[in-house]
């Protein structure tokens, strides 16, 4: 991803307070032009609030937001080249699908004919041309969602805001819409800001992800970066499954830290800045980067007993009790090779880790 791309949205020290409650606590981030950008975080962390501030429905208590270099300040929503796909779609119930989609164009002063033509194109883009004359109430949830998408895309905004647009759809439809959305973003070249609390959705769709919690930005980066190098406990825990445990650092040397966990098991991993011998820090171990082998344990692996195996479909998860130590979850793919590493409950095994599987976390 080129770093010198134009900046679409620049949020600078934005604070949002409702009375004394701070919904956003001094957030700064930049969103690049033509980027599929995702705001990810648990319910109530302020995703919608930030989106509404960009759209102009919520004023910024402190700080500023810039859109392509221009301060948004008090610009009313109807003067911002930004469109929103609302969480509940908010399709106008008294207008048919085509009128809904053409509404923005009409308000921009396009002629009725042009509005209709371009609305028709937008409908074609989401494959709903045959429903042009239906009322929104005569459509399924997924179809309504696509109308909302076409309506927001038709005026060709510079930035499209999507507030959990897929949350009401079933899993299958959701997956296909994820692909379709990503495709539309590439095709139109419009900057997408996508809100979700589903980490898997965020990982599959986004160029970059901003992880938020309680009104604060926790980490910003590409999917791989966030998944593999989480900055703190919150991010490691929120994105994907992980074995999270407290460890004591015994020795730091040459960029490597030797640590031990409950039961006296010791292991070595990459050090992070500011960690010194004697510190108690959190460690994250992704279950899919661990694998089991029969005992006796090789040096560097951790001896334990299988408590339970869980069939997931694509994967098989094994829960292992370390001797006098914490519990580990280990995942292996449900394949011939992966299944060779699955053991029966009660068996003594050794937990091995790929290099770089263990990560110390700042906090």
């Amino acid at each position: 991803m080129p770093q010198d791309r134009e900046i679409a949205i620049d949020v600078r020290d934005a604070v949002k307070r409702y009375g004394t409650f701070a919904a956003l606590k001094r957030i700064s981030l930049t969103i690049r032009d033509n980027e599929f950008f995702t705001l990810l975080g648990p319910s109530g962390c302020g995703k919608t609030t930030l989106l509404r501030m960009i759209a102009g429905f919520e004023d910024v208590t402190e700080g500023a937001i810039y859109l392509y270099g221009e301060a948004l300040d008090t610009l009313p929503p109807y003067k911002r080249p930004v469109n929103t796909v609302f969480q509940n779609y908010a399709l106008f119930p008294h207008m048919n699908v085509l009128e809904n989609v053409g509404f923005g164009l009409e308000m921009l002063g396009k002629s009725k004919a042009e509005a209709r033509a371009r609305a028709g194109e937008a409908l074609e883009m989401v494959q709903l041309s045959q429903f042009a004359s239906r009322k929104p109430s005569q459509l399924s949830g997924g179809q309504q969602q696509r109308v909302a998408l076409a309506r927001a895309l038709a005026p060709r905004p510079r930035v499209l805001l999507l507030d959990e647009p897929l949350s009401a759809l079933d899993l299958k439809l959701r997956k296909s819409m994820q692909v379709e959305l990503k495709h539309l973003q590439r095709e139109t070249g419009i900057t997408f800001i996508f809100v979700t609390h589903d980490q898997e959705e965020a990982l599959t769709m986004s160029d970059r992800i901003a992880v938020m919690s309680e009104g604060e930005l926790q980490q910003l980066g590409e999917a791989r970066e966030i998944y593999e190098r989480p900055r703190n406990v919150f991010v490691a825990d929120f994105i994907g499954d992980t074995n999270l445990m407290e460890v004591t650092v015994d020795k730091v040397s040459g960029g490597r830290a030797q640590c031990h966990l409950g039961g006296g098991h010791s292991l070595t991993c990459d050090a992070v800045d500011g960690v010194e011998a004697g510190a108690r820090v959190h460690m994250s171990l992704r279950p899919e980067r661990l694998f089991l082998s029969a005992q006796p344990a090789e040096p560097g692996s951790l001896p334990g007993t299988v408590r339970e195996t869980i069939y997931i479909g694509t994967d098989i998860a094994t829960i292992v009790d370390l001797e006098d130590g914490p519990q580990f979850t280990v995942r292996s793919s449900n394949s011939t090779r992966g299944n060779a590493r699955v053991f029966e409950p009660g068996q003594n095994v050794a937990v091995n880790m790929e290099t770089g599987a263990a990560r110390l976390l700042a906090d």
Binding site: A55, Y78, N88, P93, H94, M107, L108
Partner: protein, 268 residues
């Protein structure tokens, strides 16, 4: 289907229901039936005839009733229209302008007149016009009707507006509609069923008002209710029943209209 504890299975339920219906509708039925009486008596049935309807339209008093009906109609239409517009604007201000000081007070103030005894309103309105040295006539009736129709129009309009999510207007503004366009293109059409109900309610209330009208009308200006009252004071003639039945019919038509609009709205 009647369930084990269905109200309909309690003893006496049917009798009480019938009694209530009789009390409610028997007087109306009597008036409606006797308006078709061939006799000049109001109690003795002598056969079916439309003679009293003919009398209303062509008889010696027909001019008086026609003028009164015309006044009533003009006042009801104008008052209902004005009241609906004012109530719509009031509802928009109260429900769509965010939180402002005295918002709760405003809501209360708009609906309070519904609970004030009408005679008090009538006296107050009369004193008000006198204080301003307003000459009583059709204009005073009209102003009074607009005023007391507002809370009636406000009820269905605000109820409807409360049911419309703010996200529709936000979506409109997001799609480049100014506040005004969002109001006329989105909010107004969605509110239309409420506005129509408010209008019809105000129309019926105005059409049938007697107490306030009687206080503020000038000499010689009559509406249908005051004309009927004036005539009844000299004894009830069957043509009064014919007029009453016609008025009843207008009310029924209006209520049916309102119901039909409401039903159509539920389907969309």
């Amino acid at each position: 289907m009647a369930k084990p504890h269905d109200l309909r299975r309690y003893p006496g339920f049917l009798a009480i229901t019938i009694l209530c219906l009789v009390i409610l509708y028997a007087p109306l039925m009597v008036v409606a039936v006797y308006s078709f009486n061939a006799s000049a008596s109001i109690t003795i049935w002598e056969g079916f005839s439309l003679r009293w309807y003919a009398d209303v339209f062509t008889g010696p008093e027909s001019a008086k009733y026609r003028d009164a009906a015309w006044n009533s109609f003009i006042i009801a239409i104008t008052a209902a229209t004005s009241a609906s517009i004012i109530a719509t604007l009031a509802a928009t201000a109260v429900l769509r302008s965010g939180k402002f000081r005295l918002r709760t007070v405003s809501i209360g103030l708009i609906s309070l007149p519904l609970m004030v005894p009408e005679i008090v309103t009538a006296v107050a309105t009369l004193i008000f016009f006198n204080a301003l040295a307003f000459e009583r006539g059709i204009l005073t009736i009209l102003l009074a009707h607009i005023a007391f129709c507002i809370p009636f129009a406000y009820m269905p309009i605000s109820a409807r507006m409360q049911g419309i999510e703010a996200s529709y207007e936000q979506a409109a503004m997001d799609l480049y509609a100014t506040k005004r366009m969002a109001f006329t293109r989105i909010l107004m059409p969605l509110m239309m069923p409420g506005i129509v109900s408010g209008f019809i309610l105000a129309f019926i209330i105005s059409l049938d008002d007697f107490i306030i009208t009687n206080f503020v009308k000038g000499a010689g200006v009559e509406t249908l209710p005051t004309a009927i009252f004036g005539a009844v004071k000299q004894g009830i003639k069957p043509n009064i029943m014919a007029i009453s039945t016609l008025l009843l019919l207008v009310s029924i038509v209006m209520v049916a209209l309102s119901w039909l609009i409401g039903r159509k709205d539920q389907k969309t």
